[in-house]
């Protein structure tokens, strides 16, 4: 399966770029939108939350603390949710291609994944720009971010492909995943700090494999701490298990997928 992907690497690369280019075709600013979007998001968080709402985050000084906290969590979450939500529908969206052309089907979620990673990198770039606007230079601990992105990718890819395969046969899966993703956002400490939760709710949030990932981003972007690598063991194992399950089911279901599309 991986060998087939390797022979199609040029196509995958071209498709990722084509996908990005296609998204902003016929717009005057074109590629600039890739930076403008995340930059705008970062700006909104920075100005609205720090100036208008003057939100404070317990334990961290500075009025930029809460917007940065939000941005860090959102960056991690957006990567996760983009890979997941697009993987769920990727086989259905490409039904006619799958039916008419013989190519490794795993290319499709890999293209989604590649596109999401590029978006993620651009968002981080925008965050870096906003940081500099606040007079801070990105800390050296940023070099750990690719590790976080890799683990988030595993989690999202695993859940996404698994749901994507089932979604081909039962379209309800896609709807359920959309709702589940909305709920999942709120059991991840993105807009609130984990300490603010009552103990019962906190246990649920701690069981969420995305929680250490979001905290990993917050540690690096906000607290300039070396991330807690031990906390990554749980999401890594979780992600690896999901990936294995997804690959197993994908292999078994792959011959039947075209029949059901």
């Amino acid at each position: 399966m991986l060998k087939a992907l390797w022979t199609y690497r040029h196509f995958i690369r071209a498709a990722i770029l084509g996908d990005l280019r296609g998204r902003f075709a016929r717009s005057a600013l074109g590629g600039a939108w890739f930076v403008i979007h995340p930059l705008a998001l970062a700006m909104i968080f920075a100005f609205v939350l720090s100036e208008v709402m003057a939100a404070k985050l317990p334990g961290v000084a500075g009025k930029a603390a809460y917007p940065i906290y939000l941005l860090a969590g959102t960056a991690a979450w957006n990567l996760f949710s983009e890979i997941l939500s697009r993987s769920v529908t990727v086989f259905i969206d490409n039904a006619s291609t799958m039916k008419k052309i013989s190519f490794p089907r795993l290319c499709l979620p890999v293209i989604v994944w590649g596109g999401a990673l590029i978006n993620h990198a651009l968002l981080l770039l925008a965050v870096g720009i906003v940081f500099m606007a606040f007079g801070q230079f990105p800390h050296w601990t940023w070099i750990f971010l690719p590790l976080g992105a890799a683990i988030i990718s595993m989690l999202a890819f695993g859940v996404g492909v698994l749901a994507g395969v089932f979604n081909v046969f039962a379209r309800d899966v896609g709807q359920v995943m959309a709702v589940a993703l909305g709920l999942w956002f709120w059991v991840t400490p993105i807009v609130y700090p984990l300490d603010a939760l009552p103990p019962g709710a906190r246990d649920i949030v701690i069981a969420n494999p995305m929680t250490p990932m979001v905290q990993f981003y917050q540690d690096i972007l906000l607290r300039h701490q070396s991330p807690d690598l031990v906390s990554l063991i749980y999401p890594t194992l979780f992600g690896a298990a999901l990936m294995s399950a997804a690959m197993l089911i994908f292999r078994r279901a792959s011959p039947e997928m075209v029949d059901a599309l």
Binding site: T7, Y8, H10, F11, A14, A15, G18, R21, G22, A25, R26, S96, T97, M98, K99, K100, I101, S102, F103, F166, F169, A170, I249, R252, A253, S254, P255, E256, V258, D259
Partner: protein, 412 residues
């Protein structure tokens, strides 16, 4: 040339589509729980055949006979339930033109993208792009977004890409000719060239003219099985006879190859049959086997009604050696329908016509039916019931129609 190489071998190929009581049952099977489906639809059952290089094979059959499923199995988009497919060489399929195209990209960009999807390495795509640009004749449109293309232009681009690199096996599903008449010729020529260079061709067509013109062999599929595999004229006539009536149980189809190479196919429900069939000279009344261009001919058909029927129509069709229809009509179109036919009655039809044909071998096909088409009631259909040769006794010309054409020349 040495022994032709076999490029595709298919052995006992089957594809069935199971239906499960619920999706849960289907999912359970993937993780190893043995669940049996509640019903199974068999689209393709036990097909075996081999394809040699340079050979062109047409798949014919009614809708739902399993033709497209079979092509998808060979292409690899659908996986077989049982059986073996051995492909020796590069396979290229045109199941639908324009799959994988993005309307926002230019023709050039789409060639790169869709070519990658077909598995072509990027260097090769770069190498063949100028050739595609020239072949499709899109001009400046080649570097404009696809959404500005007409549907014919899109089809041209898709066809140009699909045939840019000569494969060992080309699979085409009802898209042999695309675009306008000019481009249709061009695409046909390209397919012929590839065939001449050794590409094996496997295609689905409902156009019996294409089948006769292009292929060496035809395979008739019915209910997922091979019903007939043989020379195109034989299989095409058998197919024509097969679709002739809805009440297939009463239909009988017989085929025999006559000593001069033509195949006679007879089908029908036999309410009326041809008792005798004669081609005679209209003036002398003598039997004609070899006619001269310009001779007055008369076809005499004696039909016998075995049952009473409300109406009877005789149809006559003349075809040349390659199976192209030269002329055909019936007594329904000429307002000469015989009505109220009694059982046992004999009816004699005569048809006078000039031998306005070029030299060559021609066949006469007759039909006895209830109305203008043999598809609803088919009493009897006789393909190639009578064969005659034509010799040109006058001025030399090529072609099958002896036009009353004259040159006039004046030197000015």
């Amino acid at each position: 040339m040495s022994q032709p190489r076999v490029v595709l071998e298919v052995a006992d190929l089957s594809k069935s589509y199971p239906t499960f009581s619920s999706n849960m049952a289907r999912f359970a099977r993937w993780v190893g729980v043995p669940v049996s489906p509640i019903s199974v639809f068999e689209a393709v059952r036990g097909i075996s055949f081999a394809l040699q290089e340079g050979e062109a094979v047409a798949l014919i059959g009614q809708n739902g006979a399993g033709k497209s499923t079979f092509l998808k199995l060979v292409t690899g988009t659908v996986r077989p339930t049982a059986g073996v497919i051995a492909v020796h060489g590069r396979i290229n399929a045109i199941l639908e033109l324009g799959v994988g195209f993005n309307p926002e990209f230019t023709g050039r960009q789409n060639v790169a993208m869709a070519g990658g999807l077909m598995g072509l390495p990027p260097e090769l795509i770069v190498a063949v792009t100028p050739e595609i640009e020239a072949f499709t004749e899109l001009g400046r449109f080649f570097d404009q977004p696809l959404r500005l293309y007409s549907s014919g232009m899109q089809a041209r681009l898709a066809f140009g890409l699909a045939t840019a690199v000569r494969p060992d096996i080309l699979i085409v599903d009802e898209a042999l000719a695309v675009g306008d008449a000019y481009f249709q010729h061009k695409s046909f020529d390209r397919i012929r060239q590839m065939k001449a260079m050794g590409t094996a061709l496997l295609f689905v067509s409902h156009n019996m003219g294409d089948v006769r013109a292009l292929c060496d062999r035809a395979i008739l599929l019915d209910k997922g099985q091979v019903l007939k595999d043989g020379p195109p004229d034989l299989v095409a006539d058998f197919y024509n006879a097969m679709i002739a009536a809805k009440d297939k149980e009463r239909q009988q189809i017989t085929q025999q190859r006559l000593d001069h190479g033509w195949i006679q196919t007879t089908s029908g429900t036999h309410e009326a049959t041809t008792a005798s069939l004669q081609l005679v000279d209209a003036v002398k009344g003598t039997n004609v086997e070899i006619a001269l261009t310009g001779q007055s001919l008369r076809l005499v058909v004696a039909a016998k009604a075995t049952q009473a029927m409300s109406s009877l129509v005789l149809g006559v069709m003349i075809r040349d050696r390659s199976g192209h229809v030269v002329w055909g009509s019936n007594t329904w179109h000429t307002d000469q329908v015989v009505t109220g036919v009694c059982a046992g009655e004999m009816i004699r039809f005569t048809l006078d016509f000039p031998c306005a044909f070029g030299s060559g071998s021609y066949s006469l096909t007759t039909s006895l039916s209830g109305d203008d088409t043999h598809l609803t009631t088919n009493y009897e259909w006789r393909d190639n019931a009578l064969i005659f040769e034509v010799i040109n006794s006058g001025i030399y010309f090529v072609g099958s129609s002896a036009l009353d054409a004259r040159f006039s020349i004046c030197r000015v």
